[in-house]
């Protein structure tokens, strides 16, 4: 009897211990909410819900960053030719790095060696169509589940331990252009995404799915239909334009737990470059929408580019911070928009606080009192010279905000232009629904091996903006344009790269270059930082590889 009791006790104790271990390994909603208390992990796509991409790790400093060395490289195994841009920001969770190699292969890596724990290969439906590359920007995690959206519009949950598919749902018809390139956002028991496809006449949305089953829980139409608020901003008499209105989602939203609001930037209206068929402001395209994550209910919106005809989107990260504003603490939202303007909004109410160009801009010439831009130019039949160009002053490349320096760091294409020509557009299901592509002095998507351009033909920079004034504090010009994200750290470092393959460490206060390495491929992803066995590392995806850097042993 005694022995049996002892065995029972021992069994119960081991089970409890196992449970403790496994619950530690699981990523609970509470851990996600307290992500900033675990700077050694990178639990959320942007590092934290606030979208700051700021790491509290302090081992790599301005003094020793010059000694940073490559620890390992993991290279993408492509199945069908050269892989496209490797845009994902990895997650790092309790000793495992998770990333997505394009288009939709999920990899779990050993951070100490770069060896693969497991990989999962997803073959997107052949009818998948994406405007601008078969890319994926990353994953989300909840419990023992990883969530990935695929370019054929599928959203799936994988087991974090072996990559097994737990559920897989379709959120839109890929043959009509519905695709997922965004890293999902997990809040509570919901995983939240929206479709890309703004060049194919989709009707966009943001929707929440049950983390356990993939069942849809609510849906917010980024293009409101009859009876929904905002529908009045689609003013064509036939009331047809909204059905093909665009409003895609392709950068991950941010979240304020206290306000229980999340903030998503919405893409362009369709057709992109000819707005004749869609008179009106075309809500909620080109807007930030503040939504309640429990219900999908809209709290407020602000539209950056009303009735856009330049394809500027608003799919840049809506970064949250509590900063001093005219002597008072204020909960603000900051974003550097593809349209060339840096904005500060009150994130409680949506009130416009500041808008200031961070590159040469001529599509607008100031704001009215409510914060609505004065539109100066539109595409025309003979062609209109508009700054910035169609690729934009920045794009999906995630910026960073350092609460330590108080500066906002934005990857920039400096002072570019396009000729925007208006041409007739007809909708054909599954085909591009755009108008005439604007001309550009440099390729928007293609990356050439040689750069023989003059500076005025296009170059990039990392710029530091003071959000109090919108002034540019420093500018690190890089010869080549950039599709890199930015990471800032508590030791006043900024990490970012460029199309030419350079990856840099800069002084966050001055922009001075402290370290660089040539990766041999385009840096088109967000760098991140993590801690393993008490040591800080920096990881970035570049070209077809993941590069991990650390200090010498």
């Amino acid at each position: 009897m005694q022995l049996k009791k002892l065995i029972t006790l021992v069994t119960a104790a081991s089970a409890a211990a196992l449970l403790a271990t496994s619950s530690l390994a699981q990523v609970s909603p509470a851990r996600l909410l307290a992500a900033e208390s675990e700077p050694g992990n990178w639990l959320i796509h942007h590092g934290d819900y606030d979208g700051q991409r700021y790491s509290e790790l302090t081992q790599i400093t301005q003094e020793n960053v010059g000694d940073l060395e490559l620890k390992w490289i993991w290279q993408v195994r492509s199945r069908d030719g050269a892989p496209e841009k490797f845009e994902a920001t990895p997650l790092y969770v309790d000793g495992v790095l998770y990333t997505v190699s394009p288009p939709n292969d999920v990899i779990a890596l050993d951070p100490s060696s770069g060896r693969v724990f497991w990989s999962y290969t997803y073959t997107p439906a052949p009818e998948a169509r994406v405007c601008c590359g078969r890319v994926n920007r990353g994953l989300a995690i909840h419990g023992n589940k990883l969530f990935m959206g695929a370019i054929d519009g599928h959203l799936m949950a994988l087991d974090t331990r072996n990559g097994r598919v737990l559920w897989d749902v379709s959120i839109g018809d890929p043959s009509l252009g519905y695709a997922i390139t965004v890293a999902p956002l997990v809040i509570g028991d919901k995983v939240i995404v929206g479709p890309a496809g703004g060049e194919f006449g989709i009707r966009g949305f943001i929707a929440a799915y049950d983390v356990e089953t993939g069942a849809e829980l609510w849906k917010f139409n980024t293009i409101p239909g009859p009876g929904e608020p905002g529908f009045e901003s689609w003013e064509d008499p036939a009331q047809e334009a909204w059905k093909l209105g665009g409003g895609s989602i392709w950068t991950t939203g941010t979240y304020d737990e206290e306000l229980n609001l999340m903030y998503w930037g919405v893409g362009n209206p369709g057709p992109d470059w000819n707005g004749d068929s869609r008179p009106g402001d075309n809500l909620y395209t080109e807007s930030v929408v503040a939504l309640n994550p429990d219900t999908g209910e809209l709290a407020w919106h602000y539209q950056y580019t009303p009735h856009d005809e330049m394809d500027y989107d608003a799919t840049q990260v809506q970064v949250l911070a509590d900063i001093d504003w005219n002597g008072q603490p204020r909960k603000v939202l900051m974003t550097a928009n593809r349209n060339g303007v840096f904005y500060v909004l009150d994130r409680v109410t949506g009130e416009f606080l500041l808008g200031k160009p961070f590159v040469a801009v001529n599509w607008m010439d100031g704001f009215d009192e409510s914060g609505r831009p004065n539109r100066a130019l539109s595409p025309s039949e003979e062609g209109t010279f508009i700054m910035p160009n169609n690729q934009g002053a920045t794009n999906w490349y995630p910026p960073s905000f350092s609460p330590k320096t108080g500066l906002f760091y934005v990857p920039t294409w400096l002072d570019t232009y396009s000729i925007y020509t208006k041409r007739p557009v007809e909708y054909v299901a599954g085909q591009t629904y755009v108008g005439a592509y604007p001309t550009m002095a440099m390729p928007a998507l293609g990356v050439r091996l040689q750069n023989q351009r003059r500076p005025e033909e296009g170059q990039g920079a990392i710029q530091a903006i003071n959000p109090q004034t919108g002034e540019i504090v420093w500018r690190h010009v890089m010869t080549e344009v950039t599709s890199s994200g930015v990471l800032s750290t508590a030791t006043n470092l900024v990490f970012a790269g460029a199309r030419d393959g350079y990856f840099y460490a800069l002084n966050a206060a001055t922009g001075e270059e402290l370290w660089h390495l040539q990766t041999g491929g385009e840096v088109a992803s967000g760098p991140m930082s993590f801690e393993l066995d008490g040591k800080q590392y920096i990881a970035v995806n570049a070209g077809a590889g993941m590069f991990v850097f650390g200090l010498p042993e």
Binding site: E382, R423, M440, L445, G446, R448, R454, H516
Partner: protein, 261 residues
Amino acid sequence: MKLSATRSLLAALLLGSVVMQATAQEHSYAPSDIENGRGLYQANCLGCHGNNGDSVDGVKLGSGRFRRASTDEDLIALIRTGIPNTLMIPRPQLAYGELRALVAFLRSMQTGGAVTASDEREVVIGDAGHGEELFFGKAQCSTCHGVNGGGSPLYQDLGGIGAQRSAASLETSLLDPMKEIREGERFYQVTDKNGASVQGKLMNQDRHSIQLLTLEERLQSFRTADLTAQGFIQTPMPAYLDVVSATDVSDLVAYLLSLKE
């Protein structure tokens, strides 16, 4: 601020296509087809292939050579069905006539009909035989340029130039070499801390280094940190009216146009 020159660009394309018709050997397309094709190119192709058809690495639509197609019908089929697992999606919505027009425009790119063509003048085409004599003699073109070999690696080989450029564009290059100089043909100068300068064709550049093919025909790299000055310079090619007569220029144009292969 609208681009006032844009209207004349349309006229330029139309005129350019007339020149093309006079010189094309195998294909003849209506100017209206080329113009329609230009619009279809802007709507369907320009986003990836760029203004000059060369934005996708390894693909030069303006070369007139296509890896997966040779005849017009091949091209039409390729555009209609797309290329699996690439950004080149199928375009079943394009009517056959539209596909013909798109192909007409693609073929016109070979003769300088880029989306942003700018040379609208009609030019005199002289005596190709005399042009050849000038090329290898008095005008000294062959000192730098080869024709299917024989020239310096610093300068463009002109074999096939007649199939790639219009007469007006060739004349412009002779009269004002810097006006239409292409991205990969530009010259650059770097100066180091001792005041020593090196010139060459700019092969590549970034924030930390410059790669030149120097005038001594050496591939050489320079660390930006070691330089006190750097920048683009005039091409070594002279403006030819300083060297030869206007008639000679038209003869050189005729010779260059004859270089189809």
